[in-house]
Structures are given as C-alpha cells and as structure tokens.
C-alpha cells in the first residue's frame, strides 16, 4: 500500500519558534509537495521538489523553506513561526498524474 507519513497530526508552537514538519514517502516518487489548507482557500502550494536537493517555490513560499536531502523525505521549515501560519499542512508525493497525500498536520502557533 502507498504511504505518505507526516510526523505529527497536531502541533502547538510559540510565536518565533523554528518549526520542522517532516514528510516521508515509501513509493520512490520523484515529486513531493507541501500545501497549506485554510477554510475557503483550498490547497495552496508552498513549495515542491522534483528531485533530491531540487526545490521550487509555489504560490505562497514567504516565511517557509524546505529541505530534501533524501528522495523519500521532504521537510517544511517555518523559520520563525507566526500566528498567521496557523493552518493545516498537507504533504503529497507523485511520480506522474496521481498525488498521494499524508494525513495532514494541524499546526497552531500561539
């Protein structure tokens, strides 16, 4: 069975903290994506990666960075968390048209 695993389902962090969200896939997919999901706004792409060490900005990269040192792992980093980054974060991987998602991380920044 295909699997995309996000390290945490729920996370509470303080303003100004550096936050790491981890995502691991077991399908040997080239492409990995980080989205945030807010009510009424759908899924907005933050960053994606099409190969190890390769990354491209999505639609809303400000305040975020990413790391892909190994093919199976894609990390999203909030350099200095702010309250407006409170959201649901979804990781996905794909090798073609089909994307497989993790279960999401609900991050609250207080």
């Amino acid at each position: 069975d295909v699997k995309v695993t996000q390290s945490s389902r729920y996370l509470v962090k303080r303003t100004g903290e550096k936050v790491f969200l981890e995502c691991v896939q077991d399908m040997d997919h080239e492409n990995m994506f980080w989205y945030r999901q807010d009510p009424g706004l759908g899924l907005r792409l933050i960053y994606f990666s099409y190969d190890v060490k390769m990354k491209e900005k999505g639609d809303i990269p400000e305040g975020y960075s990413v790391s892909r040192e190994k093919k199976e792992r894609f990390s999203l980093i909030l350099e200095s968390a702010s309250t407006n980054q409170t959201s649901m974060y979804l990781c996905a991987s794909s090798s073609g048209l089909v994307a497989f998602f993790g279960q999401g991380t609900r991050l609250t920044v207080v």
């Binding site: 995309v4 492409n31 994506f33 989205y35 009424g40 706004l41 759908g42 899924l43 792409l45 994606f48 099409y50 491209e56 999505g58 979804l90 996905a92 794909s94 048209l97 089909v98 994307a99 497989f100 998602f101 993790g102 279960q103 999401g104």
Partner: protein, 109 residues
C-alpha cells in the same frame, strides 16, 4: 485570479438527491483530476480525465471533461451521507500540482 474555479463553494442536500459540482478555467489542460477529502484526512484521488468530452463513472459518481478541456463536472446520483466531504479538482500546471478551492458537500440523512 485562481487557475481553477469551483462551484458551488458549499452544498447541503438531503439523502437521495442528485447534484452536480463544477470546475472551470480559462486555460486548457492535458488532464484533470478529482479528489475527495474527508475531515481530518488528506485528499484521495477519485478519477483522472484526459480526453476532451470524456465521461467516467465510479458507481454513483459521473465525471465529465469538457470538450475544450477547460472545465469538468462531477455528478452524484442519489447522494448518501457517506458522500459528505470536500471535492477538489486539480491539474498539473508545469511542474506544479494545482488545486481548486473545493466544494464542501454535506449530505443529510
């Protein structure tokens, strides 16, 4: 302006009713996908349509890709409470996988 516009944004219906939701764009796509997301979970792929005018059926769900490959519709026959969820359309745009804002469907028993 969003690449994909979905309508309606919210839909609440009674069990047994039929419904149609839409995904529209001014751009042409080589393929389009529909996903369903249930509360607390990530989206799951329902179908991919690739040919203009194509119709695909998945039990009570019927998906159609527009002739010009700019739009798509999802029709549900005799909706059931288990159909409740957020329905998202998506396209590959360059290297990106881009989603519409979704239709939140609630089917009341």
């Amino acid at each position: 302006t969003q690449l994909l516009e979905q309508s309606p944004q919210f839909l609440s219906i009674q069990e047994g009713e039929n419904l149609t939701v839409y995904c529209n764009s001014s751009s042409v796509f080589s393929s389009l996908q529909w996903y369903r997301q249930e509360p607390g979970e990530g989206p799951v792929l329902l179908v991919t349509v690739v040919t203009g005018g194509e119709v695909k059926k998945l039990k009570r769900l019927t998906f159609q890709f527009g002739d010009a490959r700019k739009d798509s519709s999802l029709h549900i026959t005799a909706a059931q409470p288990g159909d409740t969820g957020l329905y998202l359309c998506a396209v590959r745009w360059g290297r990106q996988l881009t989603f519409g804002s979704g239709t939140q469907l609630t089917v009341l028993p």
